[in-house]
């Protein structure tokens, strides 16, 4: 009789062990799937390049984990994911890293096709968006950084460059918004160029405070001014606004460090 009970007990224990092992495998699969679709963004609070990726992820409604990196003390993860440039932003998707903000933005657009498109469908329009995105980045934003990092005659030279180039963008905006800037925009219509413009110059009032002169205003660049105003009102953009004092401090610090060199 005891033997029978023992047999039954062993069978029951085996069954429990089997159930447990199946559960473990299912859990592990679920964990794997979660890992597979997991999106992590490695960034820096100050970086406008990082902000671009954040905005794209938010507009597309992609859940992600954010990891703040310390550029003065680069983490082993950062060096592993971006050995070539050792910079942020880094997007990790399915365990694989994608770097360079412009590359990441196109990757996001091509991978998550459900949300609003970041690039238009027509190849000619796509080429135009890519051209102007690059212009905003290289010709405008980088020139503004040069203004931040210089003084005297050298600074005067880049200030003139910045103002001239802003005029070029202002002209182009007439073609982008032939009916004028809509007074309100929503995140569904935000595309790559909107993202570039708002992450580079959304905080222009703070940038102007630190630099000591206005470069985007209703007189010189009325269309750009209105565009930025409308973009800054979009909830997803508003949420990501830099804390003002922190940004002022950071920009002043960057200027000081550059001038001391």
């Amino acid at each position: 009789m005891v033997e029978v009970y023992q047999q039954v007990l062993y069978i029951k224990l085996d069954q429990v062990a089997l159930d447990f092992s199946i559960q473990e495998k299912e859990l592990s699969k679920k964990r794997e799937m979660a890992e597979e679709n997991k999106v992590t963004l490695h960034g820096l609070w100050l970086s406008s390049y990082v902000k671009r990726v954040e905005l794209a992820l938010k507009i597309k409604g992609i859940p992600y984990e954010y990891v703040e990196e310390d550029m003065k003390n680069k983490s082993p993860q950062l060096l592993k994911y971006n050995p070539v440039h050792k910079m942020v932003p880094i997007l990790v998707h399915n365990g694989k890293p994608i770097v360079e903000s412009s590359v990441i933005l196109e990757y996001i657009d091509e991978t998550w096709k459900n949300g609003p498109p970041l690039l238009p469908r027509d190849p000619y329009e796509r080429a135009q968006v890519r051209f102007w995105a690059s212009f905003v980045q290289k010709q405008l934003f980088e020139t503004m950084i040069s203004v931040l990092k210089s003084e005297g005659e050298a600074q005067q030279k880049v200030i003139k460059e910045l103002l001239d180039k802003l005029k070029v963008l202002e002209e182009e905006i007439k073609k982008i918004f032939p009916e004028g800037i809509p007074t309100s925009m929503n995140h569904e219509t935000v595309g790559l160029l909107d993202i570039m413009v708002v992450t580079c110059f959304g905080p222009h009032e703070v940038q102007e405070e630190v630099l000591g002169f206005k470069f985007i205003d209703t007189e010189k660049t009325p269309l750009l001014f209105s565009w930025l105003k409308a973009l800054n009102e979009i909830p997803v953009v508003k949420e990501a606004t830099y804390p003002r004092e922190k940004l002022v401090e950071a920009l002043k610090y960057i200027r000081q460090v550059s001038l001391n060199k």
Binding site: S102, A127, F131
Partner: protein, 219 residues
């Protein structure tokens, strides 16, 4: 309506060459117009008022500028043959990353060889070595940077092959000796008609670069 394709270009430009290779890969008939960079045509100034640079592709009267943007445009419009970018988004991201690397690193550092002297020149030489090492690592044992087939990143980089002789001579090093994998890859690319017919003679490029150096450094 017949497609009208015009390319405003300069024979020695590694950026212009990228577009020529892409057009050849796709078998697109086009009109080539050589620009005199010291006396730019009205058409160029009209079609690229922002940068006033070549290459500019004019497709049915509409201009597209910036070599990598043009190559992507060509790939997207003439998508029936010889795809340059892979279809997988991750692989596309890799191709774009490396093409961006070429633009940021190879050109800017390379040109310092004939636009700078002394310490700046020495630093540029060292940087270039590191850049080519990184590229060799990325190539690994693959036949092309894109993998099994010639692709976007190969187009972006192979045009510099015509400039290697100039790099080597100014930089006083041998590409074949120090970066043999890159040379092997370049020679493999040169077996493709689109590349062989596009890349100019290296001696001509070197003489052009010598001229650039004279003008930059006044030697």
């Amino acid at each position: 309506m017949a497609e009208e394709v015009v390319l405003l270009d300069f024979w020695a430009s590694m950026f212009g060459m990228r577009v020529r290779i892409a057009l050849a890969e796709k078998g697109i008939k086009y009109e080539y117009r050589e620009e005199d960079l010291r006396n730019k045509s009205d058409l160029l100034l009209q079609m690229n008022p922002v940068h006033k640079k070549i290459p500019v592709l004019i497709h049915n009267g509409k201009p597209i500028c910036e070599s990598l943007i043009i190559v992507q445009y060509i790939d997207e419009v003439w998508n029936d043959k010889s795809p340059l970018l892979p279809s997988d988004p991750y692989k596309r991201a890799q191709a774009r990353f490396w093409a961006d690397f070429i633009d940021k690193k190879v050109y800017d550092t390379g040109r310092k060889l004939w636009t700078t002297k002394g310490e700046e020149n020495e630093t540029a030489k060292k940087e270039l070595v590191e850049i080519f090492k990184t590229l060799e690592e990325e190539l690994g044992e693959k036949p092309y940077f894109g993998g099994e087939t010639f692709g976007f990143m190969d187009v972006a980089f192979v045009t510099f092959y015509s400039w290697f002789y100039a790099f080597e001579t100014f930089g006083e090093f041998s590409m074949e000796a120090e970066h043999p994998k890159i040379i092997a890859w370049a020679k493999r690319c040169m077996q493709k008609e689109s590349v062989a017919k596009t890349l100019p003679d290296r001696q001509k490029v070197y003489e052009f670069a010598l001229d650039l150096r004279k003008r930059n450094l006044g030697e």
